[in-house]
């Protein structure tokens, strides 16, 4: 795989995201996140569940807008969803009334393209992802793993510049997860599509990524960036791989403990302020 152009294709500068619900005080989900995703890179974002990883991915895809800072796509502020940045969601988003083939061709159909213009491309993608046999099947006739393969194939078919993946394998068992990790890795190598994958699985993050970013908890912020382009990190039994895995697990655990201590101190302070001592 060649990655000749190393200028950032997608980046975020001083990104902040706050959510407010009703009368409650707004919650800061992401604070001052700076990130560069380069052409052809495979970035994995690792962090605790509920730590703001998915929010970061939605911001990178233009699905939501930041409270402060900006997301730049090809150097231009990203204001809305674009087909140039594909997204594979954690949940099943296949259209149940369409066959596998129709689902994969949906990106063309919804843009008003005639079937004759895209059917060859769809067949090629089907062949590539090993789903030719199941092309006439409906999503409910497929296993969870096959459904996720179709979702990825559908996004790949329209050739996005960047593909964002929000924990696509989290609902699958370990065997299937490993098979799909290999599948995704081969897709990345073959298509040279820039990918950003969010996961809470340390092993997955190391195995797939070229650049690994660890997001801390409450608020989400980058606490560590690791370059893992080396082949050492493609073998889950390599001592280097295992050492990094242990290190990253430690980083996440320390961060969680620190945040919990901070939270406890804050709540004790709050109790001290509200309880009147006679």
């Amino acid at each position: 795989m060649e990655t000749c152009d190393r200028t950032p294709i997608l980046s975020c500068k001083h990104l902040n995201k706050q959510f407010s619900s009703g009368r409650k005080k707004s919650t800061t989900v992401l604070a001052n996140v700076n990130l560069d995703v380069r052409q052809g890179d495979f970035v994995t974002i690792l962090g605790q569940s509920g730590g703001g990883k998915s929010t970061l991915l939605k911001l990178l895809g233009g699905f939501i807008q930041p409270s402060a800072g900006q997301v730049l796509f090809h150097g231009v502020p990203l204001k809305q969803i674009t087909p140039k940045i594909g997204m594979v969601f954690q949940e099943d988003t296949l259209y149940p009334w369409l066959t596998v083939e129709q689902n994969i061709g949906f990106g063309f159909k919804i843009r008003g393209k005639k079937k004759a213009h895209y059917i060859a491309k769809v067949r090629e993608v089907l062949e590539h992802v090993g789903l030719s046999q199941a092309r006439k099947s409906y999503p409910h006739q497929l296993s969870g793993g096959m459904r996720q393969r179709v979702s990825i194939a559908r996004s790949i078919a329209v050739q996005p510049d960047v593909l964002l993946l929000d924990e696509p394998f989290s609902a699958l068992d370990i065997q299937l997860r490993r098979r799909l990790q290999n599948f995704l890795s081969s897709i990345w190598k073959d298509t040279a599509t820039t990918m950003v994958l969010v996961t809470h699985n340390v092993e997955e993050a190391i195995l797939l990524g070229q650049t690994l970013i660890v997001i801390g908890d409450r608020p989400g912020r980058i606490i560590e960036t690791v370059d893992i382009a080396d082949d050492t990190f493609r073998d889950r039994y390599d001592p280097g791989f295992l050492a990094l895995q242990r290190h990253l697990e430690g980083v996440i655990e320390i961060d969680v403990n620190q945040q919990e201590t901070l939270l406890r101190e804050k709540s004790q302070e709050a109790v001290g302020k509200t309880v009147k001592i006679p």
Binding site: G61, F63, I81, P83, I85, G86, M87, F89, E91, T93, Y95, P96, W97, F106, G107, K109, I110, R111, G112, Y138, H140, Q141, R154, S155, V158
Partner: protein, 269 residues
């Protein structure tokens, strides 16, 4: 292999339900026939046995009505069916279009939905006098009554179904490059179709009763008229013939709608 076993099981299940249904109908028919055959039984006068009135179905010259208005029982069935099916089709298409338009804006939802909610509970039969004044004694009256009985409920259901569509399905369509019109056409419409069609099927009974009531009270043909003619002539055979045909036709249409649902609107979102 697994699919074959499943389809075999489903086939057996449907055979069993058809068999049981036919058996219970046969038992009921035999019981009725047994009671009705006794000429000393006073019930026989108002409840003649099926063997007394069903053979007219096979008489080609059997017609109900006077002069040029006389129609065969098959013509009456066809007239009623056309009225119900046209009314329901117009209501189905209209409610989906209206539901889509209403859900385009929060304000239209806030203003229009309460009005629909107010009209929906009005029994279709209540529209009969008004329909007769506006459309006269014609097919339009019956179609209008069926439409009024189904349209408002279906429109409210369409709006509810649109709200129920998972956000990710819509976001994916947008992410794949679909503009608003194509998202409506290729995602929202197919997503709401099964739910609205199911409700249409459930509302069929109401529409069926409404059109029969309209035929009994104002129109001059159709299955409702067969029963009313029987009443006017003090002819129990005709009344029971009409009742039986109404039941069988209603059941057949319900099964037809179920078949359409399973064949064309089988998915769940």
């Amino acid at each position: 292999m697994g699919n074959n076993i499943q389809s075999e099981q489903a086939w057996r299940q449907s055979l069993l339900s058809i068999g049981c249904g036919l058996l219970s109908c046969a038992v009921l028919g035999l019981l009725w026939e047994g009671i009705g055959r006794n000429p000393e039984n006073p019930i026989t006068q108002v409840l003649p046995p099926p063997s007394q009135f069903l053979p007219v179905l096979f008489e080609s010259d059997f017609k109900i009505g006077l002069g040029s208005q006389a129609a065969s029982i098959y013509q009456s069935v066809a007239v009623t069916l056309v009225r119900v099916l046209v009314g329901m089709t117009v209501a189905f298409i209209g409610s989906i279009l209206c539901g889509l338009l209403i859900s385009l804006s929060k304000w239209s939802e806030l203003f229009i939905l309460p009005v629909l909610g107010l009209i929906a509970p009005i029994a279709p039969i209540a529209w009969v006098p008004l329909a007769l004044v506006v459309f006269g004694v014609s097919n339009l009256t019956a179609i209008f009554i069926v439409f009024m009985g189904v349209f408002f409920t279906l429109t409210i259901a369409t709006v509810a179904e649109i709200k129920r569509i998972p956000k990710n399905l819509l976001m994916t369509a947008q992410n794949l490059g679909g503009g608003s019109f194509n998202r409506w056409r290729w995602v929202i419409v197919p997503a709401v179709l099964p739910g609205v069609f199911t409700l249409l099927r459930l509302n069929f009974i109401a529409a069926w009763m409404a059109v029969l009531a309209a035929e009994m009270t104002g129109l001059r043909d159709g299955l409702g008229t067969v029963v009313m003619t029987g009443r006017n002539l003090f002819n129990s055979d005709l009344i029971l013939l009409g009742i039986c045909i109404i039941g069988i036709t209603g059941f057949a249409v319900d099964r037809l709608l179920l078949l359409i649902q399973r064949k064309f609107f089988w998915w769940q979102v």
